[in-house]
Structure formats: structure tokens, C-alpha cells
Symmetry: C2
Subunit: 423 residues, 2 copies
């Protein structure tokens, strides 16, 4: 393998998480150990910023800021949802690729690390293929990241452990609250969590259960078509028995016809758009309307994916390791791979990193196996718990200032632009 001397570019893409900055810290700290990597640059707002030549000099950042990224949620370099789409927009995509390689050449980028989910791994894969086509060597490695946990071939994704740790703690706390108010009238609380198509996040809330009657009492997963009758019967039975019922619903819950449960084109706001009402609010209307049980909703939304104040230490350690492994793989000559987490043991939990061909990862979604869900579809099974439990272990100590978290902020010293603005 030829030694490839040049500069490194790292960028982030897709929805932020608690752990994606930890991966970036891993990339940067590992890269600093290898002399063949000359300069370390960051691309702002993912591929979108890179196309605009918005690059920053990471060497200009303090070491303690980079270390601080490990406990800092969201995407310190900024992120984007930009796709280089050869299928839908072939001309624009071709132009984007030309521009990207002009940027790579202008800044002598020879190592490119892209942290993100399915779409981002697809982008990384396309860039790797273009490198071969154009005979311009850049070692491209994808770094996995997604709270949705839906990337294939990796045991799980950095970012996932932290979101389910926070959500499970929140469900536990809400249950303590609602349970302490429970009197004979009975009540129901429906907590909406993220997850449009896969139910990994919703399922993870089951970690809040230490005893069979603990909350959550029902979990509604996007994988299981909504069974209204069965749901109402289960809420009724739970409220009668425990005086309250805690339901967790993945935002992407589907009706039996496959459409989203929360979507209702018949209810329009004053602008003529469908009323913004999530799955939890719709379910609350159902429970109140059919069972006459007082029901309240919680919609954690963005709060759940950036709750750095209660991140999983295991998740953060794995995210850092994925960043480091990406650099080592590239130094060793690999390109066109994504780093993956390989579980070597569940009891005790042990893991290592590996790499996997990007073409088998891009645009493939990983769902909960059906036998990890109870036959009635309202809860996950022990197999799921065994899988998810180790991922939330350990607390991250976040420094505070004035009683609130103190997160790292990059100076973002811009590199000089060598190219004319993007056409």
C-alpha cells in the first residue's frame, strides 16, 4: 500500500445527535498522531458547505475544545440534509461532483471522513466511486451516526444509546409523576418519541421497566400497523389495574393501510394546511373520546436527540472509537468503507470496531426483527432488552457554568477560498 500524504477533511451530515461530535473528536485526535496527515480541516454544514468551500482549520482549535466535543451534543461543524442525487437530478449531481473534486484538489484533500446516517453513507459511497473514476486518490470512510439506529451491518449506531438512555429516564420519571397522582379516576400519558420508519427509539423506552408493571405499559412501533381495538383494550385494562397507563409512541406509527397515523388531511388549519398534530395527540383524542380517561401528551422532539446532560458514556466511548477507527482504516489503505460496531459479547458487554463496504450500507434501512416484539405488538421482548441494555450504561460528566451545561464551541477559523464562488 502506497503512503498517501495530504490533508484531511471531516464533516457531519443529517440530524444531530449527542455523539456525532465525539466521533469528530476521535477523527481529529487520531489524525493528529499520523504524520502523513498534514492538515486537518473541517467542512461546515456537511457537503453543502464543502461545495461552497466553507472549510475551517482544526489546528486552530484548542486541544481542550476538541476534547470538549466528546460531551457536546449536536453538530459542532454544522450539518445539512443535502443529497448529491444522480437519479433525480443527474446534471446538478455531476456539477456538484466536479465542484467537490475541485475543492479536494485545491486543498489537497486526501482523507475524507463523513459522519452521518443512511443518506450520508450514500454520499460517501458516491464520492469514493468518483475517486476511482477520476483516478484521484482520496481515502473515503463513513462514520456511522444516527439516533434512528437503522444502519445495517453495524450492531448499533453511535447516537442511539444516548437517545434511549435519556428517553428511558424520562419515561421512568414521568411514570413516577403520573403514578403519584393516580387515584381512582385513572389517567393516561402518551409520550411521543422520534422514529419515522424504524421503532428502535420507541422500543428503547422499554429499558425504563425494572418490574413487569413498570412503565411504559404500551409501546407503539412504526413497524406494527396500529391496532386500535387492541390498543384501547390494553389501555383500559392497565388503567383499571394500576390506575394509570404510560404509552410510548414512535412518531411514524402507521395505520393498517400503511399511511401515517398522525396524518389527517381532513383537518385543516386556518391556512388550509393539515393541522399539526402528532401521533401522541391523535392517540390522546382517541383514548379520551373512547374511554373517557384523562390523557396528557408529551412530545420530546429535538430535546431527545441533543440531551447531552444525560448522554450514555458507553455511546460516547463508542462514537470516539468509530472516529479513531475511521482514521486508522484510511491510514492502512482502506477507502469506500463505513466503520461499524461489532458486538463480541453481551454478558459482559464487549465490542470492537470493524469496517464494512459502503455499497452494502447506503440507503438500506434496518428494522426491529419481528421476534424482538411481543406477539400482540405492544411491547418489545427480552431479546430487544438484552440488545439495548448495555448501550445506555454509564453517565457522562458534563462541566457546568451557572448551573447549566458548558458545551464546547469551535472558533471556526475559515480557510482562504481558492476557487470562485459556486455557480
Amino acid at each position: 500500500m502506497a503512503e498517501l500524504v495530504g490533508n484531511l477533511l471531516v464533516a457531519q451530515s443529517g440530524g444531530p445527535t449527542c455523539a456525532i461530535n465525539a466521533s469528530i473528536a476521535g477523527v481529529i485526535q487520531e489524525a493528529g498522531k499520523h504524520e502523513i496527515i498534514q492538515e486537518i480541516y473541517g467542512g461546515l454544514n456537511g457537503i453543502l458547505g464543502i461545495l461552497n468551500e466553507e472549510l475551517i482549520d482544526i489546528n486552530d482549535e484548542m486541544a481542550k475544545t476538541i476534547e470538549g466535543l466528546k460531551h457536546t451534543p449536536a453538530a459542532a461543524l454544522g450539518t445539512c440534509r443535502y443529497k448529491i442525487d444522480f437519479k433525480k437530478k443527474p446534471e446538478k449531481a455531476a456539477k456538484d461532483m466536479d465542484r467537490l473534486f475541485e475543492i479536494f484538489q485545491a486543498h489537497n484533500i486526501r482523507y475524507f471522513f463523513y459522519a452521518g446516517g443512511n443518506d450520508s453513507q450514500d454520499t460517501a459511497h458516491k464520492i469514493h466511486e468518483e475517486c476511482i473514476k477520476r483516478n484521484f486518490e482520496v481515502r473515503v470512510i463513513g462514520v456511522p451516526k444516527t439516533i434512528d439506529n437503522d444502519l445495517p451491518h453495524t450492531d448499533h449506531c453511535p447516537g442511539y444509546g444516548s437517545v434511549i438512555k435519556y428517553n428511558a429516564a424520562t419515561v421512568m420519571e414521568i411514570a413516577t409523576d403520573v403514578g403519584s397522582m393516580a387515584t381512582d379516576d385513572g389517567s393516561c400519558c402518551i409520550i411521543e418519541v422520534m422514529g419515522r420508519s424504524a421503532g428502535w427509539i420507541a422500543g428503547g423506552a422499554a429499558l425504563a421497566k425494572r418490574h413487569p408493571d413498570d412503565a411504559p405499559h404500551i409501546i407503539l412501533l412504526p413497524e406494527i400497523p396500529f391496532n386500535e381495538e387492541g390498543f384501547l383494550a390494553k389501555v383500559k385494562e392497565t388503567v383499571e389495574r394500576l390506575k394509570f397507563c404510560i404509552v410510548v409512541v414512535g412518531e411514524g406509527l402507521k395505520k393498517p393501510d400503511g399511511s401515517e397515523y398522525s396524518a389527517d388531511s381532513s383537518r385543516l388549519d386556518s391556512f388550509g394546511h393539515p393541522v399539526l398534530s402528532g401521533a401522541a395527540d391523535r392517540l390522546a383524542e382517541l383514548v379520551q373520546g373512547k374511554l373517557n380517561t384523562k390523557t396528557r401528551t408529551v412530545k420530546l422532539g429535538y430535546a431527545q436527540r441533543c440531551a447531552g446532560h444525560y448522554a450514555s458514556a458507553t455511546d460516547i466511548a463508542e462514537a470516539v472509537a468509530c472516529g479513531e477507527a475511521a482514521v486508522r482504516a484510511a491510514i492502512n489503505g482502506s477507502s469506500g468503507f463505513m466503520v461499524k460496531i461489532v458486538r463480541t459479547s453481551s454478558h459482559p458487554y464487549r465490542w470492537t470496531t470493524g469496517i464494512h463496504d459502503l455499497k452494502e450500507i447506503a440507503n438500506v434501512e434496518n428494522f426491529i426483527p419481528r421476534d424482538w416484539i411481543t406477539p400482540d405488538g405492544f411491547m418489545v421482548t427480552e431479546k430487544f432488552i438484552e440488545y439495548a441494555r448495555p448501550l445506555i450504561e454509564g453517565e457522562v460528566v458534563v462541566p457546568t457554568e451557572g448551573g447549566l451545561p458548558k458545551y464546547a464551541v469551535l472558533k471556526k477559523q475559515r480557510l482562504d477560498k481558492f476557487l470562485p464562488p459556486r455557480a
Copy 2:
């Protein structure tokens, strides 16, 4: 003052908080030091459970469980929203009072501590008056508790510091997340927090600001009638300048006509009830409809008032002290008072406890002074910040088990019932 020998009864009422159990721990631990207090009992589900003679023996609980209550959210004894209402239901109220004093006599209750908000202090006050009328000495002391922070004559309420600490951290984290996704399209995130009539909780989110352009960029308080035009102009200006805008809204935001902003009787669900859509969702429809800016909502709901994993150490210490002070006041012969927190200095923050006549507290609500709110009504001023800042200082260390909080749970050993069931 005559020495009053007898048993102690402590109970909790109203919405749970992060700190109300800490007050109960304070009551129990202080009571244990005084020999004239013979037995320590807990009333389950507030006055409602007491009327049903649902009492537990606190001496049967382990000391470490009582200590653990200090970091345990919600109401460990259970709570209720039951009111002894002489105005609306005089006969029922009279019957309740008779029953209550039968319970007090049967169990020789001579010390009664009731932790709660406005309604609960009203109940404590009525019980105190009945003691005098009936010439049956029970020393009654109210222990303040409410996340709403709307009790008068106390500098602030135990429970408030923790909710605004958690909310401010959450707003800060959401802003980091939304800000890292901010590209030229612009986006808005609206976070709904509790507070039906007073805006103390919404205002407290301002603590997330370390710099003028930090989130939250707009706070909508229930005290200030909603100014739609001004709000839209401010969102537009913020999105143009920063590429994103974070709005915090108190759930009880009012229209200029005084009605709740979230209420809309014209939008009915399939059961003919008004659509369950909170203030944040209504505002999101407005922003998307009028400004065409991508808008997402977060509704923290119950999560915010029971987030023991990020409670304020200052709040918890004050809550414990209020419980202790209640017992000392009663031992010293006082009855018919609520414990209050007295701020003796803001720089550095210093406080002590005092007591205040219950008749001046019951049913009085405390709002944010107008000059603690900016002239345009969209933000709180430095006076508010100076007031609220010290209340969130310090983190509580919560023990964990399997990566999740380990909260204290009472055994709840019931006392024998001496009376026939409540008629």
C-alpha cells in the same frame, strides 16, 4: 407555650415536582430529633387518602430511603387534587372536616404538615381554623411547593428552581441542535412549557442565554396578551439574521380577548371535542402559514416537572430546609403558617426560611412584575435573570442502576384502620 405531645402526619398535594419529596424528607428527619413527636405517619394521596384513613408508618421505612427521597422526583406519598370546598359544597366540606378530625383523634395526630401549592395552602388554612373552632390542638404548617412559583410572600417556591434548570438546559441543547442544522432556508422551533396563568416557568428559560443572540430568542408569557403581528415580525427578523429562531411559550398564552391561545372550539376531533393541540402547535401553524418557515415543536409536559436527573441542588437544599423549618415552627408553638424562603442577598445568593400567616397565602397568585418583562413583551429583563439565576445552581448526584436513575420508593406499610370506611 405548652408542650404538645403526639403524632405527626405529613402529606403531599397538587402536581408533583422534583423537590416535594425533599421537603418530606426534611420534615421526617427533623421530626426524628424531637421526642415530643411520638410517631411519624404519612398520608397517602393527600387529604383524599387521609379521609380514607390511608396512613403509613414512616418509622417502618429505612433511613436511607428517607435520605433517597431528596433526589427522588414526584410525590412519594402520592398526591391528589382534592379540595375541601365550603363555598361550592358546604355540606360535603363539613362532613369531610368531621371525618378528618375523627382521623386526627383516632391516631392522635397533633402535628400536620401539608406540602403543596395554592389550593393545598388553602386546605391547610381551613384545617388550622377548624382546630381552633373545635378546640382540638393540631399544629398545622404548610410547606410550599409548586413548579409554577406563584405562591405569594415567599421569595420563590421549592420545585421551581429544578424545573427552570432542566428547561433552560433543554432549550440550550435544542438551540445547539437547531443551530447546527441552520442553513439559508431558515427554521424555527417552538418549545411549550408549563404555566397556565403565571409565566415564571417560561421566563426561566431565559437562563439559557449566555450571549444576546443565544436562544431563546422569544419568550411568550401568559401574562402578556399575544401580539401576533409583533411575534411574526420578530421571528422573521431572527431567522433572517441567525438562520433559526427558538421560541419558548407558556402553555397558558392568552389572546388579546383573554381566552387561551391554544383553545379553538372550531376545530373538532372525530368525537366532537376540540382538537388537542397545544399553544406550540398553534404557533407553528401560524409561523409556517404566514412566514413559510419550517417549524418544529417540542412539548415538554410532565417531563419538565419530574426531571430528577437534572434537578437543582439549590432547589433541593431549600426544599429540605423548608420541611425542617416547618417542624421547628410547630415545635415552637406555631400553627396556621406556611414556611417561606427569604432571600437575604442576591450577590452572593443567601437565603433563610421564615413563616407567614396562611390566610394571606391561600388562593393568592403571584405574577411576574411587569418591569421584569421587556417593553415589547417578548423577553424577560435582567431583573428576572438576577432573581432566577441562583435558583438553578448546583447539580444533584442521582445514583444509577443499569444506566438509569435509581429513585427511592417507600414501602408504605399501612396503619391499622380504626374507623369505619368513609360514608
